[in-house]
């Protein structure tokens, strides 16, 4: 239990419980007592499950900083969607698919997982495998500077995605 981030497990537990209850309120949208009781039980169960499945020690994703990057993310999604749509509608398919190994700075853990989630919505890349030091991406067009783009993304998200004190 020594490798926990500052604030310890209680803080992580409280933050998660609050987030799950907020989710319940948004989904259910009712102030009746019975509904709220079910909501409390549901968010308690969800918190318990999330602590089992994703212990708070495995790296940090800072939601506040991540939100600041929302405009960048939305813009990239727009570019990605338009790029694929143009290729799909083109009279002759212009594809040069292939695999590219990207040397990733983030160690395995939730920070890298979050980066892979974001990268899979970026233009032209879907993660298809990984080793300790690289992520393998499948690319629609290997003529594009995929590695450079991914490196720029990783730099941009570096402050929001912090690897935890995980060994190995």
């Amino acid at each position: 239990m020594s490798a926990l981030p500052e604030g310890g497990p209680t803080r992580a537990l409280l933050v998660r419980a609050l987030l799950y209850f907020a989710l319940w309120i948004v989904v259910d949208q009712s102030a009746k007592t019975a509904n709220l009781v079910v909501g409390l039980l549901a968010s308690a169960t969800a918190t318990w499950a999330s602590l089992k499945l994703l212990p708070p020690a495995s790296g940090r994703v800072r939601l506040g900083l991540l939100l600041l990057l929302l405009p960048r993310f939305l813009w990239q999604s727009l570019v990605a969607g338009t790029d694929v749509a143009r290729r799909a509608f083109a009279l002759r398919l212009r594809l040069q698919p292939g695999f590219v190994d990207y040397p990733v700075g983030l160690p395995r853990g939730s920070a890298r997982n979050a980066f892979e989630l974001i990268a899979s919505l970026m233009p032209g890349s879907v993660p298809s495998g990984e080793t300790k030091e690289t992520i393998e991406f499948h690319c629609l067009d290997t003529r594009q500077p995929v590695v450079e783009q991914l490196a720029a993304e990783e730099r941009a998200y570096a402050r929001a995605l912090q690897p935890g004190p995980r060994h190995g």
Binding site: V26, G81, V126, S128, L140
Partner: protein
């Protein structure tokens, strides 16, 4: 004002549908599982985003709008996660063959 908002909704939703169509066309035309994943995740994501943005002005109340945004976020999260899982399992099968 409401005419402007309605026009905005129509434009955004129609644009969203174009991207859904693009995703489906890509699914049919692209050559293999990986390229089809690109078509589905990226084009459909943008499709959902535009439909949600188009519907936002039509919702009554902040909570209802938040619920719509939540649906959008969950769709995005699941498609980003599932596309990787499919890509990884196809890749593993290819490598072991």
């Amino acid at each position: 004002m409401s005419v402007v908002l309605d026009a905005f909704s129509i434009v955004a939703i129609v644009a969203g549908l174009v991207f859904f169509l693009a995703g489906t066309v890509g699914l049919l035309r692209f050559p293999d599982a990986f390229t089809r994943l690109h078509a589905l995740t990226k084009a459909d994501n943008l499709g959902v985003a535009l439909v949600v943005i188009g519907l936002l002005p039509q919702m009554d109340g902040v909570l209802a709008a938040l619920k719509l945004v939540l649906v959008w976020l969950l769709t995005m999260l699941s498609s980003a996660a599932v596309s990787q899982l499919i890509a990884r399992s196809v890749r593993r099968r290819e490598c072991s063959e």
